[in-house]
């Protein structure tokens, strides 16, 4: 059962990673198109900046989930790393719980935005803003999932000492 869930999560992580890669590429291309439009075609593509900005917002919310998976959110874990196994596990749970509470608030607080996003349109593309606000609950849900998964994966060694590789990743 557990491995099955884990496998589903890993599959989801692959999907999210792919989406994030696409979003970044869209962002970069949109900005380059904007520059090119101005210089080579003599007109500004006002939609390009908005496409890029909205890609950025989705990228951050989904990318933050990937960052949870890769342990890239900076934390000071000097103290919990000194704990024996059982209290360390407790600390691991508390960390996930604290983070999770915030993420639940983030998702819950986006409901009024989603309601407004039904009729609020974006300035340039004129598309309903709900498609943008949706990144908040979706991103929060994905981060929560990754948090749970990371607790499961770190259960036997909650705070492994940082290797130069992970430390570099963490910045």
């Amino acid at each position: 059962m557990i491995p099955l869930i884990e496998r589903a999560c890993l599959l989801l992580r692959h999907v999210m990673s792919a989406v994030v890669i696409v979003l970044f590429s869209v962002m970069l291309v949109a900005v380059l198109v904007q520059v090119a439009g101005r210089y080579f075609f003599g007109f500004a593509i006002s939609q390009a900046a908005e496409i890029a900005t909205f890609s950025q917002i989705w990228l951050v919310l989904l990318g933050a989930g990937v960052a949870v998976a890769r342990g890239q959110h900076v934390a000071i874990d000097v103290l919990p790393a000194m704990l024996p196994l059982v209290p360390a596990r407790l600390a691991l749970l508390l960390i996930a719980l604290t983070s999770g509470v915030f993420l639940v608030v983030l998702a819950y607080g986006s409901l009024p935005l989603l309601r407004m996003g039904e009729f609020q349109t974006s300035p340039a593309l004129r598309i309903p803003m709900k498609y943008m606000y949706a990144c908040l609950p979706v991103g929060a849900a994905y981060m929560i999932l990754e948090l749970i998964l990371s607790v499961a994966q770190r259960w036997n060694d909650p705070f492994p000492p940082p290797t130069p590789e992970t430390e570099e990743e963490a910045v």
């Binding site: 380059l32 990228l59 508390l94 009024p112 943008m132 705070f159």
Partner: protein, 428 residues
Amino acid sequence: MLVVAIAFVVFLALGVPVVFVLGASAVLALITTTEVPLAIVSQRVFAGLNSFTLMAIPFFVFAGVIMDAGGISRRIVAFASALIGWIVGSLYQVSCVAAAGLAAISGSGSADTAAVSAIMQPQLRQRRYDVDFGAALIACAGSMAQVIPPSLTMIILAVVSNVSIGTLFIAGIVPGFLCILLLMVCAYVFAKRRGDTYRDAEPFTWSRLLRTGWAATPAMVMPFLILGGILGGAFTPTEAAAVAATYGLLVGFFVYRELRLSHLPALILRTASLSAAVMLIIGTASVFSWLIANANVPQMLRDWLLSVSDSPLVFLLIVNLLLLFVGMFMETIAAILILVPVLAPIAIQLGIDPIHFSVIVVMNFAIGTATPPYGVSLFVASSVAGRTVMQVTRKLGLPLIAMFTVLIIITYISDVPLFLPRMFGLME
């Protein structure tokens, strides 16, 4: 309010990621001290990210990641070594110069520190240099990537305090390189007092300098592309960042030929998750900053500060002490988003130039990343050196003196940071 402060410290000590410490404490403050609905959390997080200007961050991160993967760090270190490897304490000097070179490409102090440490630490160890002093020195030199343009910290600061990114970039050049210079003097003083280990230098040859210089040239074009593009009116800063990232790709693929198309997804993913981690902090810190504005703290603090003294010199002294203290404990982005909206209006009211003020803020937080107990550059430098933060901290004294000297100079001699922007006609 006390509850929130205690919770903040407990969360942090517990090892909760900084981004969630900020978020969770803000939620707690919201519930215990206001009647504001929780939706403000989501709104501020969204607003913090809904910025075309801040998009320069992921692009500059990408440029750094690409250049590093393309082998640029190695070439810059080789060039630095050819340039200055003949001085006493050569490896320390090379570390400083290499950090400065990378700083002109990378926007992140910790990335710069990581790249220089990864190459220099094995050599320091092998040639029996004092590794702890090396780590302390590299942490400080690497942190200058935030002061020497391009700089992610400056981009965030410019957005928060509404100053021109280009002008702020230019204003950072002299203080950044001055700091590197003083760090090299420190290293010289340190090495001079010790034994022969530090005199084992490589002889200078023109051929080596030219060869390594040629190899590093494509990378060294990047700062000129970025600054020239912004100053010359070709691009906005965000566009310059995108162009720099594209340039990095082209160099990696076609000049250094160390990049493969198959590497690209992993590098983009790395960029995306690094930037997401940085930018989500912008989101959660802006919840905090909203709470502070909502409680009318900026107004109260302004009244209090102005009642103490209306001298800009005294104000700047207070600001420096406050920011150095905060920088010891807090994450840079969070601190900027929370404090600068409070302090910048007071500075303007006292007639301090906003660019001058911003450079002072950046310098303070650059120092903050190299100081314990919380400093990302210090963490990275110690970790790559395989030493504890405590061990490295003991050797931090001399390099910190260099940093403080620069801080004092740029605070009280405004011409030092502002001379270049004026020369380029960016300010009066």
